[in-house]
Symmetry: C2
Subunit: 238 residues, 2 copies
């Protein structure tokens, strides 16, 4: 599972985890059912998009009875929201390349790789599309990405520990822990934002060079103090 | 008309333009029909979203006969694509505040203001949503934003003329026109990308402070040379 809704491998982990002998995994059968339903939801989204997804499709492709689906998930909105919730329960961690620049580049490249891989892109794109039509999907997307970007905070913490990011200046709190005064969420969002903009708003192509440029831009902004608490634009003519 | 699909005022301009006595406006009636159809498309998108938009709705709300709609626009996809094409034919120009920082802030704030205004946000959001379900809408979105961001190039040209952006270094082409070596498209996309990300992907709130931060981040990256041709990340530990 990655930042960009690459969901394909998750059911394998889930299923293997539930079946591994000697593993204490409460609700193994429930977890398997949930993963099977999630797989069917993603298959349906890939095939028909959110507006064409039906409970009937999910029942047919998951082997779970329609009555059970309605009882446990309510409706298509509930099914899509739970697919996102389940996606957020994985063990994904941001890249750890040894440098802030490397980590940010790797993050950006993950987005490009996922959404230029047709097998992965379709369901991820359909989940993002669902946010336009379903309030519950929108809330699940927010929760998913909030958690994803929260995990990316370690990238910034490691960079500060390595001395790659300066402590914020002129805030009168230089003695405080630097990590608390860097808006790491804004930084990691800035890394991926130009890619998501082109993929889903302006519908322009993305590639590795653009990923690297996005990472470099966010890094330059971070070094200039833009994401520091109380930070402003760097000095110069304005 | 603005960067962020604020379409509401466009029909007024269109209609007034067509009706003004003495104006040589070929196809005034056609232009009025087109604008009326576009208004009905936007009303339908606002009310029902793209999946719920029908030719019947557009006929009823535009006063244009269904047969005419099918003949001239083909189907719902064609109607939505033409609404976007028409939106791109306006006279919108980027802000001119006298400084690069001011212009970038104003650009970013326009996005926040439009998409936090419920009357404007609904149709703009529905047009972006249409790009997920219609290839023709996706192409029209790409054309729309390509033209919007192209116009923003003047912001960068003015900044270079004012000496607010440095000429690119170490490219061996310092004698060339600086404007040709700055990727102004990447810069202006970087300004708005963090806002579009939160509005339509991660579904997080946006506000003026975030607009200013996005503008400051893009500006810092531009000053560091990230958007210059051949530009890389600024020096420092990596």
């Amino acid at each position: 599972m990655q930042l960009e809704l690459q969901l394909a491998d998750e059911s394998d982990d889930e299923t293997k985890g539930a079946r591994r002998p000697g593993t204490q995994r409460p609700g193994g059968r429930t977890a398997r059912t949930r993963a099977a339903v999630r797989d069917a939801v993603l298959a349906g989204l890939t095939e028909h998009g959110y507006p064409g997804l039906t409970v009937e499709y999910v029942a047919e492709h998951s082997g779970v009875h329609k009555t059970t689906l309605y009882r446990r998930w309510g409706d298509v909105e509930g099914l899509v929201a739970d697919a996102l919730d389940l996606a957020g329960e994985d063990s994904w961690a941001p890249p750890d390349t040894g440098s802030l620049e490397g980590d940010l580049r790797a993050l950006a490249r993950e987005v490009v790789e996922s959404f230029t891989d047709p097998a992965v892109a379709a369901s991820g794109s359909a989940l993002i599309a669902a946010g336009f039509q379903s309030q519950r999907a929108a809330e699940a997307l927010r929760a998913y990405y909030t958690e994803r970007f929260r995990r990316c905070g370690t990238v910034v913490e490691r960079a500060i520990a390595r001395g790659e990011l300066p402590p914020p200046a002129d805030t009168g709190s230089q003695a405080a822990a630097p990590a608390a005064t860097m808006d790491s969420g804004a930084l990691v969002r800035a890394v991926t934002a130009p890619l998501f903009l082109r993929l889903f708003i302006t519908r322009e192509p993305v590639d590795e060079a653009l990923a690297d440029q996005s990472a470099a831009a966010a890094l330059a902004a971070a070094r200039a103090g833009v994401f520091s608490t109380g930070g402003t634009a760097p000095g110069g003519p304005s």
